[in-house]
């Protein structure tokens, strides 16, 4: 099944692992959870030798252990979970892993946009059926959230702050009363949430001002802030993990040289430091410089090398991808990159040599092309 999908959801991708964990799990499970909280943590963060398992469970989300623990206990409590952080910090991935581990279904997702309506959160009607048979449970189209309520599983709400305030507020009663009433029906007109239902929402901290949450809704969510990964080792792990996955998905046989990974990480670390010391928005790149951005740069470079190069990832290509991905505003971003290239990369290439020299050249060419 996995082979037929471009991107399999976590519960499909790790089905075998989840089955195995479920089979050995003897810990207490809240509500209808498929795994106990400790096993959920183990699934997300991977196993240690001290866990005493017969097989190794790989780490799937990289970040502070306490974030995962706090997220899991929130889901076991009465409140919804709101993962908040900069774009590309792995919020949605964590939400997907948690849903897959807890309820084996991570696809009950509502995507918050400016066009999201209350129908997307509660229910809507199949107009043809309503005309043919009238309003009934059969002609009703439940939203993913309602489906999650009925099944006692985790529902997800991506980019909560992008939807308008009145739509957001529809969640208040769902999270408080745990039921949705359907006034159009005469009987069987209340859908009660089954034990195990909860909501994982994500919100982008950069867009917080778009549609700020009401205090009433905030109170019903526990906030877990996911920071940008700045630990070089963790970041290298994440980039490697995700890139290998992407390579597998694209069926590309290409080696990722560690030196190039180091160059990528170092460049991002430098640019983040520069952004942190910038005094105005014009002095920093528009990009959040998140880990996902790094993965994007690397993926771009890999695909470029594979299809237009000699199937070897080179420093020039990586530099070109980096410039191409980060130069969004003309001239501000390009000016910053130009300054960085000549102020930091050039001296470094002279000092350290190696791949930095090609990286310098590739970046220069890319900047020249875009200028």
């Amino acid at each position: 099944m996995t082979d037929e999908m471009l991107r399999a959801p976590a519960e499909v991708k790790y089905a075998e692992e989840l089955d195995w964990l479920e089979s050995i799990d003897d810990g207490p499970k809240p509500f209808s959870w498929r795994l106990s909280p400790r096993m959920v943590r183990l699934f997300v963060l991977g196993s240690e030798r001290s866990d005493g398992l017969d097989r190794e469970i790989p780490q799937k989300w990289f970040g502070d252990r306490s974030f995962v623990e706090r997220s899991i206990v929130t889901l076991a409590s009465d409140r919804g979970l709101l993962l908040i952080g900069d774009p590309g910090t792995g919020k949605s991935w964590l939400a997907e892993l948690l849903s897959a581990a807890i309820s084996r279904n991570s696809t009950l997702v509502v995507q918050g946009t400016a066009g999201t309506t209350e129908d997307h959160i509660k229910y809507s009607w199949n107009v043809s059926m309503v005309i043919a048979k009238g309003q009934s449970r059969d002609s009703m189209i439940p939203s993913p959230i309602m489906t999650a309520m009925e099944g006692g599983v985790i529902g997800r709400f991506e980019e909560l702050t992008r939807s308008t305030s009145d739509v957001q507020d529809a969640l208040i009663s769902i999270l408080s009363e745990k039921y949705v009433s359907i006034p159009e029906l005469d009987d069987d007109n209340i859908v009660f949430a089954q034990p195990g239902f909860s909501i994982i929402a994500t919100a982008n901290s950069r867009d917080r001002g778009v549609n700020d949450l009401s205090s009433a809704l905030k109170r019903r969510f526990n906030f877990v802030r996911i920071p940008v990964v700045t630990n070089k080792r963790s970041e290298a792990e994440i980039v490697r993990f995700r890139t290998v996955e992407l390579l597998r998905r694209h069926r590309i046989e290409l080696e990722l040289p560690p030196t190039l990974l180091d160059i990528l990480l170092q460049s991002f670390a430098d640019l983040r430091a520069a952004a942190a010391s910038a005094r105005s928005d014009d002095e920093k790149l528009e990009s959040a410089l998140s880990t996902a951005e790094q993965i994007g740069v690397l993926e771009d470079a890999i695909l470029h090398s594979n299809f237009f190069g000699d199937r070897t990832l080179r420093a020039e290509t990586l530099a070109g991808s980096l410039v191409g991905s980060l130069a969004r505003r003309q001239p501000e971003d390009l000016a910053i990159l130009n300054k960085y290239w000549h102020g930091v990369i050039e001296p470094r290439s002279k000092k350290d040599g190696g791949e930095w020299v090609d990286f310098l050249e590739g970046g220069r060419q890319a900047i020249a092309t875009l200028s």
Binding site: S50, D64, S215
Partner: protein, 919 residues
């Protein structure tokens, strides 16, 4: 078998041992070695009590053991020379730090000074329990056995040039993995975030209900593991081993001299040292000689300074809040009962200490393997824990609400529930403060922090906050006591941690004058904020009649106490500091002049000012740069003004300073004019010195020709300095104003020079320092520039002028503005009719010759011209004699016309004088 409380710890340690042992054979060696270490430490005749710093478990075990054993001698791992200050602990509120301090070094590199060793003492520590027991129980002797503060530095690597940037922190029972990888391994596998949390989860909690033997076994086991898995830092291990030899040597010496029974003694040391493998270990050691090197001649001073939990955490790299949490854990264990901790009684209470010796000591039972027995017992769950957690949950919500959070009772329930869930997930028998903190953050913290403190910080406050210690009056050095005594007339309790506003009306209450004087000295010596003047100032020649002060000595007690290490009174400290400052190799003449000023203002000692002044002369003569010339000029001007106003004659050093400065600056002037790295400001200050001190210098024997020559040798190239040179030439009378005006007109007419014209103006403005008479001319130059330059040149040029003047001559601009105010008309109407004084130049005067009056005098001189010719030749007058007959008629001119019209007066005067002739 039930899961044991120590199972997790055992697994952690054995995993760590396996991970870092290297080869498989090494692991078994380490494990058996650990067992040997435990065996050895626990089998020692002198009872060893292994401790860990900031461990409530250690403190509780110590309190229990002291009550049971009632030892007569306690040997403590603490610098032996700190012993006398321990008695003062009873006058302090903990946490405080014992401090050894040295500024006069002898035997250490000077760059190391001042040397400082601090040993923080908190209430929730085993060492405090031992100290409190020993000091409050009659007949018990407390012996500190670790190396002295002097040895701390003797044994530190000599090659580090920047050795002690800050105080060296000493902790009793420093037990922590010695290399980062091991700690990281333990944290990672223990699924905790930082070391304090690891210790709490894997050692403190399981040890909470353990008996004494179990406690000792576990602690030595951990110490042994960390010792065996230490990094290859041979130097550090060697130092530790030397310390162990030192301690055992001292204990053996004491036992031999005092004849104490080893069975009634207790040796309190870090678990790391309890697992020592040095040959000198144990009373029955084969090798007992260890040569203790004598101390250096460095003078050490001892005292107690206040400490705080946060300062301790920062100094020893502990996680934020961990010391507070340890204190809270200790307090909880005490309130739970079962053990009564020792606490030093204040001197004030003066209660006779009860003879506690009546309680018969419990004999030590034969050693048994307690560890295995303990493993079979289930962890004890306590109702108190639940009540405590409930209390915390309610309190944090209250605290959060007070800090702007929208928290409610529902949040309290959620925090409580989440704490339990988190503890369960983290495999803890009961929620720890760390779980509670995480739960509170999860449930209360939203997207923004509404107030100044976030939930994590609020939790730290709730769990005890940052406790700050206080040193009692009697425990303070004489200087601090003296300060408090002398400030007593102000009527504040300055020991309190508050900011007091003191209002001093020195006219109404002259008795407060000494307080004011002391406050100014403290303001000069203590860090910012300790004593802050709100109103009033104290400078040379200035004295306020009313002053207002913010006094926060309670907050800066440590700074005040450390001042006490430098002297007995603040005056002495200030004198020493001033002396040190001027004798510093990097001292300059400006610094020395400043010191002289301070000495006059604060100390009033003539002997000291003369000494400092003499040093200023030396420094000035030896200076090769003129960077400080502006400061020197200002300083000496102030001092001269002071001496002229207060003394009948200038002090000798002042005269020497002026003459030396005159010669010195004359010599350096030509090179300063051309040197690129010397600014216009510096050269202007040199010229200012030369011109304003000229009168005094010439009267003291200097030669003006030296200055004239120096100016003539100067050939500057930059516009600012060129203008300055012109100013100097004008001052010396070499360059007439008309020529100067002509040069400026040429500059303004040259479009190539216009961009640099502000530099010229800046130079002219600077030249006001040596040549104040140039002020009207500078106004004229600027006005001309404004009048003549076209707008397209002038407008871009103006900001540059302003910034140049602001940067280079801020203090002279007001002079210029005043002059401009005098020159320009005050009203708008007058502007239209106004003609600049420089354009309304007087018409060239006709060659006016003196009117030669006739009369007997003129006739006499004409008859004998030799004397007048000689005088004229001497004065350089030319023109020769006018014949008397060509005299201008006396009636011509306006005066003549007037007299002709009104002759009566003149006639009367002529008659009076007896002259008959009238015109």
């Amino acid at each position: 078998m039930t899961q044991s409380p120590f199972a997790a710890l055992r697994e952690q340690l054995s995993d760590a041992a396996a991970a870092f042992a290297g080869t498989p054979g090494a692991l078994s060696g380490i494990l058996s070695g650990m067992v040997d270490d435990v065996d050895r430490a626990l089998g020692e005749q002198l009872e060893i009590f292994p401790v860990c710093h900031h461990s409530p478990g250690s403190a509780l075990a110590m309190a229990r053991r002291l009550r049971d054993k009632q030892p007569e001698v306690i040997y403590l791992e603490l610098c032996e020379d700190l012993r006398p200050v321990l008695d003062e602990l009873r006058n302090c509120r903990l946490p405080v730090s014992l401090q050894a301090f040295a500024t006069e070094l002898d035997g250490f590199p000077d760059a190391w000074g001042p040397l400082s060793v601090v040993a923080p003492i908190t209430e929730a520590s085993a060492e405090y329990q031992a100290i409190a027991y020993a000091l409050d129980t009659p007949g018990v002797e407390l012996v500190l056995v670790d190396r002295s503060a002097d040895h701390v530095f003797q044994w530190s690597p000599q090659e580090q040039p920047d050795q002690p940037a800050d105080a060296v922190g000493m902790e009793i029972g420093d037990l922590r993995p010695r290399f980062a990888e091991l700690e990281e391994h333990l944290l990672h596998h223990g699924k905790v975030r930082h070391w304090s949390e690891w210790w709490d989860q894997y050692v403190e909690q399981p040890l909470a209900g353990a008996d004494y033997d179990t406690y000792r076994q576990v602690m030595v086991l951990i110490g042994s593991l960390f010792r065996r898995l230490g990094p290859d830092d041979a130097g550090r291990l060697a130092r530790d081993e030397d310390r162990e030899r030192y301690m055992w040597t001292r204990m053996r010496e004491h036992l031999a001299t005092s004849g104490a029974d080893p069975e009634r003694c207790l040796y309190v040391c870090g678990a790391f040292h309890a697992a020592s493998r040095v040959e000198e270990f144990g009373l029955a050691a084969e090798r007992t000689e260890f040569a203790i090197t004598p101390r250096t001649a460095t003078t050490w001073l001892y005292g107690i300074v206040p400490a705080s939990h946060s300062a301790i955490e920062e100094q020893f790299g502990l996680a934020g809040g961990s010391v507070s949490i340890a204190a809270a854990t200790f307090a909880k264990a005490v309130s739970r009962g079962g053990v009564k901790p020792y606490q030093l009684k204040e001197h004030a209470s003066k209660r006779p200490a009860r003879a506690r010796k009546a309680a018969s000591p419990v004999r030590r039972e034969p050693l048994a393997d307690r560890l295995s027995g303990f493993l079979s017992r289930p962890p004890v769950l306590d109702e108190l824990d639940e009540a405590e957690l409930l209390g915390w949950s309610v309190d944090i919500v209250r605290l959060a609400r007070r800090n702007g959070y929208l928290a409610s009772t529902a949040d309290a329930i959620a925090v409580f529930e989440t704490s339990i869930l988190l503890a369960g997930m983290r495999n803890r028998a009961r929620p720890t403060p760390y779980d509670f903190q995480d739960a509170a953050v999860t449930c209360i913290e939203k997207d923004t922090v509404p107030g100044r403190r976030d939930v994590r910080r609020l939790c730290e406050i709730l769990l005890g906050g940052d406790r700050i210690g206080e040193v009692g009056y009697t425990a303070m050095p004489p200087l601090a006591q003296d300060v408090y005594d002398r400030l007593a007339p102000l009527g504040f309790d300055l020991k309190k941690r508050a900011v007091h506003r003191a209002l001093l009306d020195l006219n109404a209450d002259p008795a407060l004058a000494p307080c004011s004087h002391l406050l100014w000295i403290l303001h000069r010596l203590l860090p910012d904020g300790a004593v802050r003047p709100i109103m009033g100032s104290r400078r040379l020649g200035e004295r306020s009649v009313q002053e207002s002060w913010d006094l926060a000595l309670g907050h800066h007690q440590r700074a005040l106490i450390e001042l006490g290490y430098e002297g007995v009174t603040v005056e002495q400290v200030l004198e020493q500091r001033l002396r040190r400052r001027v004798w510093d190799p990097k001292a300059t003449a400006a610094v020395a002049l400043e010191a002289v000023e301070d000495a006059i203002v604060f100390l009033g000692s003539r002997r000291l000012t003369e000494e400092l002044g003499a040093r200023a002369v030396e420094l000035l003569a030896a200076e090769r740069t003129v960077d400080d010339a502006p400061d020197v000029l200002r300083g000496i001007r102030r001092l001269l003004a002071h001496y002229r106003a207060t003394e009948p004659a200038l002090p000798d050093w002042c005269e020497r300073f002026v003459t030396t400065g005159y010669a010195h600056y004359c010599t350096l002037l030509p090179s300063a004019f051309v040197a690129e790295d010397i600014g216009v400001r510096q050269v202007a200050a040199m010229l200012g010195f030369l011109s304003s001190m000229e009168g005094l210098a010439l009267s003291l024997g200097c030669d003006r020709a030296q200055l004239e020559l120096a100016v003539r040798q100067s050939h500057p190239e930059t516009p600012g300095k060129v203008a300055l040179l012109w100013g100097a030439q004008f001052r010396l009378g070499v360059l007439p104003l008309a020529e100067l005006r002509e040069r400026c007109d040429e500059l303004l007419a040259n479009p190539l020079v216009i961009p640099s014209f502000p530099q010229y103006i800046s130079g002219f403005v600077q030249a006001l320092e040596p040549a104040p008479a140039l002020t009207p001319f500078v106004v004229e130059v600027i006005s001309n520039a404004f009048a003549r330059l076209p707008d397209e040149v002038l407008l871009p040029w103006l900001p540059m002028l302003i910034t140049t003047l602001r940067q280079e001559a801020p203090e002279l601009v007001p002079v210029l503005v005043r002059e401009a105010g005098r020159t320009f008309p005050g009203t708008l109407a007058a502007v239209d009719a106004w003609v600049p004084p420089w354009t309304a130049r007087p018409a060239p005067r006709a060659e006016a010759r003196p009117v030669v009056a006739g009369g007997p005098v003129a006739e006499l001189l004409a008859a004998h011209p030799a004397a007048i010719d000689a005088v004229a030749a001497l004065l350089g007058c030319e023109g020769g004699w006018q014949p008397l007959g060509q005299a201008v008629p006396s009636g011509s001119g306006p005066a003549g016309a007037l007299l002709t019209r009104h002759p009566a007066t003149v006639t009367a005067v002529a008659e009076l004088l007896g002259g008959g002739a009238t015109s």
